[in-house]
């Protein structure tokens, strides 16, 4: 019964979005990082599919319909970029220096460390874009020839981690400039870190937000060359 129901793309889409709605409410109420809606909803959907004995190939009929919307969602990032324009202009030097330095550091350090620990070539290609915002990371990984599932997880982990430890790392590193704290957190850990930067202060939050899409664009332009050179 459950098996035949979940073979319908309609039910697959409904269950996925409904589970997200519930986990998102839970997260909003408790704000505990392990309740991250993406991770919790994913685990619940996996459990349901497992329980109903549905293969991923069957589930992806409905899943692909949801994934399709990521295209327009990526384009939609043009709107926050446009809204951030006055912000970017007023701190153009700091933001360009930070985003370019950070993007290069992110690609190089991610690949270098994973390679030293014995990760396979395809894994390296799949995590190189981990500091960029998720839809952009997905596009970059497609160009690099990495695995789309690994990059989604890698970006999620990076964002959660940046959100949890961002403020403490900046304090430990002795960073005093509010602008530098914001750009550092936003460049390293996209929207996940930014959600925390907003709570540190207004300057930190807006600078972190301004860095997100720019880091994605710079990484998209540089990653193919750096990867070719490192792997």
């Amino acid at each position: 019964m459950l098996n035949s129901l979940l073979r319908e793309p309609l039910i697959q889409v409904t269950v996925t979005l409904f589970v997200y709605l519930l986990t998102n409410r839970l997260y909003r109420r408790f704000h505990f990082f392990l309740f991250n809606p993406l991770i919790l909803a994913t685990l619940i959907v996996i459990y349901i599919l497992h329980y109903a004995k549905i293969d991923y190939a069957v589930y992806s009929q409905g899943g692909d319909m949801i994934t399709f919307l990521l295209g327009p969602a990526t384009v939609a990032l043009g709107v926050p970029l446009y809204k951030q324009l006055p912000n970017i202009r007023s701190n153009l030097k700091g933001i360009s220096v930070g985003v370019i330095t950070g993007s290069i550091t992110a690609i190089v350090s991610t690949i270098f460390i994973a390679k030293a620990l014995g990760a396979s070539r395809e894994t390296l290609l799949s995590i190189a874009a981990k500091s960029t915002t998720m839809p952009i990371a997905l596009g970059i990984t497609g160009i690099l020839g990495g695995n789309d599932k690994i990059i989604v997880m890698a970006v999620a982990v990076t964002g959660i981690f940046g959100g949890v430890i961002g403020a403490e790392i900046m304090k430990m590193a002795g960073i005093k400039s509010r602008i530098a704290v914001g750009i550092g957190i936003g460049t390293a850990s996209h929207a996940g870190g930014t959600s925390r930067a907003i709570r540190i202060g207004e300057t930190e939050g807006s600078m972190s937000g301004a860095a997100i899409v720019l880091t994605g664009l710079v990484t998209a332009l540089l990653a193919p060359y750096i990867v070719k050179w490192l792997i």
Partner: protein, 130 residues
């Protein structure tokens, strides 16, 4: 005036069509000219450009963009569920992946922030020697 103000539903629809137009154009340009940027990113830049040049007004796309971006995590669930198809490889490499992600995030944060602070200091030094 009320007749001239578009209803919310119509605005959301118009915004969605604009986003698809930008994505399609971006994908075409990316493929045709064999660009290094993926089509979606070219679409992002086209939308940004159209907003700056006021070919498209913010009002036309803002609500649709918000609808998609505010709920973007939902759109990633199916891909994330797909991790179960590559579980053996994850089991083998999870430590390398995790250490790399976490260490790199710390490194990027500190290096970026230091670079920004350094650039700010440079600016002050230029202004001060009077």
């Amino acid at each position: 005036m009320a007749a001239l103000t578009k209803k919310r539903g119509a605005k959301l629809f118009e915004g969605f069509v604009i986003l698809l137009l930008m994505q399609s154009t971006g994908t075409f340009l990316s493929n045709y000219f064999d660009l290094i940027l993926p089509g979606n990113l070219v679409g992002l830049l086209l939308l940004f450009l159209a907003l700056v040049l006021r070919i498209i007004k913010l009002d036309q796309v803002e609500e649709t963009a918000g609808l998609l971006l505010d709920n973007m995590m939902a759109l990633f669930i199916p891909l994330n569920v797909g991790l179960i198809t590559i579980l053996p490889r994850i089991k083998q490499e999870w430590l390398a992946i995790m250490v790399s992600l976490l260490a790199s995030t710390v490194i990027v944060m500190v290096v970026t922030a230091k670079a920004v602070e350094f650039s700010e200091r440079g600016r002050k030094n230029v202004k001060q020697p009077s």
